[in-house]
Each structure stands twice: as structure tokens, then as C-alpha cells.
């Protein structure tokens, strides 16, 4: 419940304020979004499995976003930014799907 309210507040604030992202940050925004989504899906699954821990959630969220952005930044400096961001998206994509499947099993028992 609080999660839904939080998401609502966040999206609303983003749409209302429309913050302009500085140019140097723009390539990392989509990666940060995917990393954040992964952390949230992980937290949701932990919730359903009864092992949710808010501290782990916060730490994994922040670490995911920061490390994903940093890896892509590093890739940019080495000239493989595009490939590395593809790699990051693939890894997070697999994790999101696996977690979403686990959540689905918990909700529908199927």
C-alpha cells in the first residue's frame, strides 16, 4: 500500500516538476531506471516470500542505481559504453523477469 502511494507521489512529482536532466547525466538515466526497477521487483518478491527487510531494500536500491550508472560511465570512458549498457540491461532484465515470475507464483499460485 505505502509502496503504491510512494510510486504515485513520485510519478506525480516528476510529471509536475519536469526536472531537466543535465546533458552529461542523460545517458545514465535509463540505466538508473532499469536498476531501480530491479531493486523494487526484488523487494516485492522478498515481501511475498516473507523475508522483506527495509534496510536491505534501501541499500540494494541505492547500490543498484549507483553501480549501474558507474559501470556505464566507466564503459563510456573506455569506449564501450553502448555495449556495457546493453549488458547491464540484459542482466537486470533477466533478474526482473525471474522476480516477476516468482511474484506471479505467489499471487496466483501458478
Amino acid at each position: 500500500m505505502i509502496a503504491a502511494i510512494g510510486l504515485f507521489i513520485g510519478v506525480l512529482a516528476g510529471l509536475l516538476v519536469q526536472p531537466t536532466v543535465p546533458l552529461w547525466l542523460q545517458p545514465y538515466l535509463p540505466i538508473a531506471v532499469v536498476a531501480a526497477l530491479d531493486a523494487v521487483f526484488g523487494g516485492l518478491r522478498a515481501w511475498f516470500e516473507g523475508v522483506f527487510d527495509d534496510k536491505v531494500f534501501v541499500v540494494s536500491f541505492v547500490a543498484n542505481v549507483v553501480i549501474a550508472a558507474f559501470v556505464v560511465f566507466l564503459g563510456d570512458q573506455l569506449g564501450v559504453g553502448g555495449q556495457l549498457s546493453t549488458g547491464v540491461v540484459v542482466v537486470f532484465g533477466i533478474r526482473i523477469f525471474a522476480n516477476a515470475a516468482a511474484i506471479r507464483r505467489h499471487i496466483f499460485h501458478a
Binding site: 531506471v33 526484488g42 527487510d53 541499500v59 533478474r95 522476480n99
Partner: protein
């Protein structure tokens, strides 16, 4: 309690999906069950859940807005550029008309001034001959019209790789071939080509005298009607385009014309050369 990766997770991809649930969660749950008394205040825990979720919403909305915003921006920029090009082209056309008008006035004043004396009339004849050669005056006469255009490959527009397009160097060869065949005045799409006119490509477009010309390219040349066609078609220019026609499907049509009108050249500036000797 340390959580090891799931058994049987052999490959990297398998381990990613097997460890999808952060092992830290189960670890923390283990710690909690060992010391159930250590629970933190509820307000802090709510904040710790809310904050990341709010940040996620913010990120999502920002990324979405960013993506949606940048698409119409690009289209707008493109339109603005196209508009500016059109505007400048019409302005150049108007200025060229003005140049032609002023030039005819100058010519009229010149001929009336020169017709006073015999020496002046002699000069006037020389001048008109030079003007004709330099491309300073519009000319009419019989000659040749060569139309060239990009070819179409049999597989349709998708399979085009650029080899069936007419290039600036092709047009250069064409014009040089016409000069070699005895052309006295040449124009491309109604633009006079003189000895100093540049034919070059700008991006994927071809410019003649720094003004863009569109396809198909109609090259007209005034010259001896009995000779120019045969000389051109058998000369280097004609041979080159027959090769292009056979190998790349480029359109190449030559027709003799009874009367062609070729306009004066736009810019005839000599930038560095000065007349030698006493004036």
C-alpha cells in the same frame, strides 16, 4: 547464515536468474530470527520503503518525459533548417535576377559609350566576344541536351546502396566531356557553368556554383549541331556515362536541340588577378 548460489547454476545467465532474489534478504531474515528483539521504529521503516519508491517514480517520469520531449524537438529543428534553406534559396534567386538586370544596364551604358568612336566600336566587339566566352551574357543557339538521373535497382528502393546515384564527379566528367566536344556554353538545370564554376557534393546533394541542384540533372550545351553530339557520345564523357548506364542503371539520355537558351553566370568575380600594365 551465508547463502550460496543455487546448486546447479552453471552458466552466468543461469546464476543471474537463480540469484534473482537478492541473497541479502534471506540473510537478513536469518539475522532477525536469531535476535528478534532488535526491531527499528516503524516510521523509519516506512520511510525506508517510501523513499526508494518515490525516487523510482521520479526517475520513471523524468526518463519518460525526456524521451518524449526529444522526439518533436528533432523534427522541429529539421523543419526550421529546411525553412531557412528555402528562404535563402529564394533570396539568392532574387539577387541573381537583380544582378542580371544591373548587368544589362551596364552593358547598355557601355555600348552607348563605346559607339562614339571607331576604336570604341572595336573594343565593344572584343568585349562581346569575351563576355560570351566568360559566360557573362545569356546565349541562345543549337546544341545538345543530356539528361542524367539516379538509377533504380531492380530490387526497389530498399536495396539501394548509393552506387546507382549520380555523383558530383560524374557531372564533372559530363561537363568536361561537353567542353571537349566543342561546347561553347554549358548549363546544369538552368545554371550556367563557366570555367570557375564548382560542381561538388554537399552531403548527399550536388551543388553547382554552390547552389543545390535537384535530380534529374538536365545538362545543356550550345555548340556545332553537326558535330557536338557525335563527338560527345564517342568522347570520354559519353563513354563514362554509357558504362554507368550499363553497370549501375543510371539514366542517360542525349538529344540534339535546335534552340537552347543558356542564362548568364551568377558570379564572375576575379578575386586576385589584376590587369597588368598601364591603364
Amino acid at each position: 547464515m551465508a547463502v550460496l548460489p543455487a546448486r546447479g547454476a552453471v552458466t552466468l545467465l543461469e546464476s543471474i536468474s537463480a540469484d534473482a532474489l537478492d541473497p541479502a534478504y534471506t540473510e537478513a531474515a536469518g539475522h532477525r530470527s536469531e535476535r528478534p528483539s532488535q526491531r527499528r521504529p516503524a516510521a523509519l521503516r516506512t520511510a525506508e520503503i517510501m523513499l526508494p519508491i518515490i525516487v523510482l517514480g521520479l526517475l520513471l517520469a523524468t526518463a519518460l518525459a525526456q524521451t518524449r520531449r526529444s522526439v518533436p524537438d528533432l523534427a522541429k529543428e529539421r523543419r526550421a533548417l529546411a525553412l531557412r534553406i528555402e528562404e535563402r534559396t529564394t533570396r539568392t534567386d532574387a539577387l541573381l535576377k537583380e544582378v542580371e538586370l544591373l548587368r544589362s544596364q551596364v552593358a547598355a551604358a557601355q555600348s552607348s559609350g563605346l559607339s562614339i568612336s571607331d576604336a570604341g566600336r572595336e573594343k565593344a566587339r572584343e568585349l562581346s566576344r569575351l563576355e560570351l566566352a566568360a559566360g557573362a551574357v545569356p546565349v541562345t543557339g543549337p546544341g545538345l541536351r543530356v539528361v542524367v538521373d539516379d538509377g533504380t535497382t531492380s530490387a526497389g528502393d530498399q536495396a539501394q546502396d548509393g552506387s546507382e546515384r549520380v555523383l558530383d564527379t560524374d557531372l564533372q566528367r559530363l561537363v568536361n566531356g561537353l567542353w571537349a566536344a566543342g561546347a561553347e556554353a554549358v548549363s546544369i538545370n538552368g545554371q550556367r557553368v563557366t570555367g570557375t564554376t564548382a560542381i561538388r557534393s554537399a552531403g548527399s546533394a550536388i551543388t553547382v556554383g554552390f547552389r543545390p541542384v535537384g535530380r534529374p540533372y538536365a545538362v545543356e550545351a550550345v555548340g556545332d549541331p553537326d558535330e557536338i553530339e557525335a563527338k560527345f557520345v564517342d568522347g570520354p564523357g559519353g563513354r563514362w556515362f554509357r558504362t554507368l548506364q550499363d553497370n549501375y542503371g543510371i539514366v542517360f539520355r542525349v538529344s540534339g536541340e535546335r534552340s537552347l537558351r543558356i542564362p548568364a553566370a551568377g558570379g564572375l568575380d576575379v578575386r586576385y588577378a589584376r590587369v597588368d600594365g598601364p591603364q
